[in-house]
């Protein structure tokens, strides 16, 4: 099936080679001038010649041709115009010239020309001192293997020092050599593919094992077939591991968001026994605070825009803490000991907050851009890119948990908080200002939610209903973790986040979510007190 096409290419190339060899080595200038020709055949021929000459000087002209920035006049003049369309450079000498743009013509190219241009450009770019350009070029060659490139790739490999580029080049070369007549070369290629290849190359290896009607294998050499077999297995294994690593990481980052959302809840619900249905809206306020901070930076501190997070994080914390304390003083403190009513009242508060934000910022989602140092990602394995923003969220939530833990366990405030939550009257009797502690605790919980909001703004859309989508999940985390238990909250958030991401590819996002909820409902039946159950008489209340 694939064979005839492949043979045709080999044959064409062979003839091309013969043809070129018959002539004198082509003149560089002439070949370059051919690029400006009106005839596409001439252009193609020039490209072939340049391909053979392999001269880095031709690179800018070739790039210009591809980018439709090459111009020719009627006197074999060839010019490259820059992006602005105003500055012209002579393609042969590289000097800036003044020409009349109207007298120039743009050589027309089609897909066929593009197909032969791209690998050549990539080959030439392999000599670029910039690693990222070399990498891009290598990837281009990897995706469009052409026999011409084999020698340049070998040459490049001799000099290449960057390991990533080397790997890509080796795969590119292997893909070319896979088509070679020499079984030894093919064997080597298969092994290289097995080592560095990914899912894309798997199909090619599988094709080697195809049998036609007569029972003939696409690959004639049994040794190569055997090697292909084991290479496929290796690729699949790596791909599987990559997938798992990816799920795990995305689960981890979901868990971090959940954790930031739930941590505040664990404090208000777990320590104070207050069900705050407006907690999700604290997330939302945190995210909108980030949005406002960006707006202010854009207006007044454009140069520092990249560092807006440094301001957004504390501001979001303070804003949400302030709103939280206001709520506690204004509403919630009158409802202590009436959890169901607290639940309803705070739901009312959440409606008011949502509507206020909607009227202020509009019902549409607003966009919060990542600072440039958080865009892009880190590729841990080929195909598994961890976005910096998510890595940052994981780090951020670890730090937050550590700080909160320290606050509660190691400071006087924490001691008071725990004292008040365990026995209010007694604590009051010991001279602790319980109502102040209530207010501060609530402020802390809300502030942490605000931090969660900043984190959310970095990975998704920010809209008035942002909090709604997290509130059910974060309650689940708190309940699952065991009320009043920070450690339990962490474990539950991790477990839920990772479970969610592992279920998603199996069952689809929605069903996955339903499964998780169902699982939770059942889990709570088994262990009403959560993973880390509070024991003793206190738990019976």
């Amino acid at each position: 099936m694939k064979l005839p096409g492949f043979m045709a290419i080999v044959i064409t190339m062979a003839f091309a080679g013969v043809e070129v060899r018959a002539e004198e080595a082509p003149d560089f200038n002439e070949a370059l001038q051919g690029l400006g020709s009106k005839s596409r055949t001439t252009i193609l021929k020039s490209i072939d010649q340049l391909s053979e000459l392999n001269d880095p000087r031709s690179l800018s002209a070739l790039e210009a041709l591809l980018g439709k920035r090459l111009r020719s006049d009627d006197h074999d003049g060839l010019f490259i115009v820059d992006e602005s369309g105003e500055i012209f450079v002579d393609a042969l000498t590289g000097e800036e010239v003044r020409v009349d743009p109207d007298s120039l013509k743009t050589p027309r190219i089609n897909n066929r020309v593009r197909r032969s241009l791209k690998p050549l450009i990539a080959r030439l770019r392999l000599r670029n001192p910039d690693v990222s350009i070399r990498l891009a070029a290598a990837e281009e060659l990897e995706n469009r293997p052409s026999a011409d490139a084999a020698d340049s790739i070998r040459l490049a490999l001799e000099e290449e020092s960057d390991q990533t580029v080397r790997n890509v080049l080796e795969v590119a070369l292997a893909r070319i050599e896979l088509k070679s007549d020499d079984p030894q070369l093919r064997l080597g290629a298969v092994e290289v593919l097995g080592e560095h290849g990914d899912r894309n190359q798997e199909a090619e290896l599988v094709a080697l094992l195809d049998q036609n009607e007569d029972g003939q294998f696409a690959e004639s050499d049994p040794a190569v077939r055997e090697a292909a077999q084991s290479a496929i297995q290796r690729i699949q294994r790596t791909a599987f591991l990559n997938d798992m690593a990816g799920h795990f990481f995305y689960g981890l980052s979901l868990a971090s968001v959940l954790l930031l959302a739930a941590l505040g809840l664990a404090i208000t619900f777990g320590l104070m026994g207050v069900i705050n249905m407006a907690h999700g809206e604290m997330l939302m306020l945190g995210a909108y605070t980030t949005y406002v901070v960006i707006g202010l930076f854009e207006q007044h501190l454009l140069a520092w825009l990249d560092w807006y997070l440094l301001i957004a994080v504390p501001t979001a914390f303070l804003v949400c803490a302030a709103v939280g304390m206001l709520l506690e003083r204004g509403v919630i403190r009158f409802l202590y000991g009436r959890p169901l009513e607290t639940l309803l009242a705070t739901w009312g508060i959440s409606l008011v907050l949502i509507q206020t934000v909607r009227l202020t910022f509009g019902a549409q989602n607003v966009e919060v851009a990542n600072p440039s140092w958080l865009s892009g990602g880190y590729e841990i394995l080929s195909g598994v890119v961890l976005p910096w923003s998510r890595i940052a969220i994981v780090m951020f939530s670890i730090t937050t948990v550590a700080v909160v833990w320290w606050l509660l366990q190691r400071t006087r405030l924490g001691l008071y908080v725990r004292a008040v939550t365990q026995n209010r009257e007694m604590a009051a009797g010991l001279g602790i200002a319980t109502s102040r502690i209530d207010m501060l605790t609530f402020g802390l919980g809300s502030g942490i939610a605000g931090l969660g909001g900043v984190a959310l703004s970095q990975v998704g859309n920010v809209g008035p209903e942002l909090g709604r989508s997290y509130i059910v999940d974060s309650f689940m985390v708190v309940v699952l973790g065991g009320v009043g238990n920070i450690m339990g909250t962490v474990v539950a958030a991790l477990g839920l986040g990772v479970l969610n991401k592992f279920l998603e590819p199996v069952s689809g996002a929605v069903l996955g979510k339903i499964f998780v909820l169902g699982f939770l409902i059942l889990f709570i039946q088994r262990r009403p007190q959560g993973i880390f159950a509070l024991k003793g008489r206190a738990a019976e209340a």
């Binding site: 069900i275 249905m277 509403v331 009158f334 409802l335 009436r338 959890p339 169901l340 009513e341 607290t342 639940l343 309803l344 009242a345 739901w347 009312g348 508060i349 959440s350 409606l351 008011v352 949502i354 509507q355 009227l359 709604r468 059910v472 309650f475 689940m476 309940v479 929605v510 069903l511 979510k513 339903i514 909820l517 169902g518 939770l520 409902i521 059942l522 709570i524 039946q525 088994r526 009403p528």
Partner: protein, 380 residues
């Protein structure tokens, strides 16, 4: 000394029975008469659009009674009653879908959305819904069975208070996600709609609308009497005992699980009934009915009216929904403020709702005049 009742308490004073009869007469007789009899432009004419609106309110009142039974009396706050309501509605919606027959957009035996999804056969769980009796009983059985299973698991593990509320919220959330999927087989996010007829009668006829409305009023009356019967029985007092001191009740020889499960399931069945009556009157059912927000709103109806009193629950449902109807037309932007404010103010200042407020006003009046007024109906 007032009379001391043991066993079943009397349901109403004679005066309260009269009030009830008057109310039923107005709702079930006067409203239809004023809609159907006067001419179009007569000032006595009750506009047509009000009939389904009233019908909707009647259904909400049934829901409010159901929630009051479980929350006001048994102290269990459900944030998931919207599911039971919607399931009842879906069961009826499935019947209405099936009775469209081949008059849908695609002219196919199958409901339009199935044709659209390129399904060739009716899924098994749609079997039987072409029969009204089956669909109607499913509208009661499915919510009841779900509530029974869920409640059995939860109450057996002694999940109470806010924990229970939270997992009911998770339940409705999960169901909403489930029903939003096209593959689940209930029309995805469009739900079921474009109904044509019920029991062979066109839904567009004014007579049908009035008929459905009257049926709803009768259902409300039945629900009210059943709830009243329950709260006046010894079971009613036991259920409030569960609310106040469950452990003590257990050590008095009762199994709270059975009692909770009974009211919980009964309450869900009532919601299913309300949903089944609601759908033909509003003409659509979709998964947004299962949004957690809807269920919480139902709780506030009861809180506004006064939980622990049946009359209060009904009044609350009407008051909140009438206000909502007015605001969403006149000042849609402020409606959420009004609703949110209601949540806050009622819990802070009127924990016993309107009925509680009225009662305290009346008690004060009585204390001032010292002349005993006639014994009004006071719920136990």
């Amino acid at each position: 000394m007032p009379e001391l009742h043991t066993g079943r308490h009397p349901m109403h004073s004679a005066r309260a029975w009269w009030l009830l009869a008057c109310f039923v007469a107005i709702a079930a007789v006067m409203v239809p008469v004023f809609n159907l009899v006067p001419d179009e432009d007569s000032i006595w004419k009750l506009p047509d659009f009000l009939i389904p609106l009233f019908g909707k309110f009647i259904c909400y009142a049934i829901v409010a009674l159901a929630i009051d039974l479980i929350w006001g009396y048994a102290g269990i706050l459900s944030l998931g009653h919207g599911v039971f309501f919607a399931l009842g509605g879906y069961a009826m919606g499935m019947y209405l879908m099936r009775s469209i027959g081949t008059e849908g957009v695609y002219g196919n035996e199958l409901p339009d959305f199935m044709v659209f999804l390129d399904w060739k056969e009716l899924p098994w769980f749609w079997y039987g819904f072409e029969y009204f009796a089956f669909a109607f009983s499913m509208a009661l059985v499915v919510p009841g069975a779900l509530a029974f299973g869920f409640g059995w698991l939860a109450f057996r593990s002694r999940i109470t208070g806010v924990y229970f509320s939270i997992i009911t919220q998770a339940m409705t959330f999960a169901f909403m996600l489930l029903f939003f999927r096209n593959d689940t087989g209930f029309g995805g996010n469009n739900g079921l709609t474009d109904f044509k007829r019920i029991l062979g009668i066109s839904l567009q006829e004014p007579g049908t609308r009035v008929g459905l409305y009257v049926v709803s009023v009768i259902a409300l009356l039945g629900t009210y009497l059943a709830c009243r019967y329950i709260v006046c029985s010894k079971l009613g007092r036991l259920v409030t005992a569960v609310r106040d001191a469950e452990t003590k009740l257990r050590f008095t020889g009762y199994d709270p699980l059975q009692y909770k499960l009974f009211v919980w399931t009964f309450s869900a069945v009532l919601c299913g009934l309300a949903g089944a009556l609601y759908v033909p009157q509003v003409g659509i059912i979709n998964p947004s009915e299962m949004q957690p927000a809807n269920s919480i709103e139902m709780a506030i109806w009861v809180a506004v009216g006064g939980r622990g009193t049946l009359v209060g629950a009904v009044a609350g449902a009407w008051l909140v929904n009438a206000t909502k109807s007015w605001f969403t037309v006149a000042a849609p932007e402020t409606w959420l403020y009004v609703l949110g404010g209601t949540f806050i103010l009622v819990t802070l200042f009127a924990p016993r709702g309107l009925v509680g407020l009225l009662e305290s006003v009346r008690l004060r009046g009585r204390a001032d005049s010292t002349s005993p007024t006639g014994s009004e109906e006071v719920d136990p």
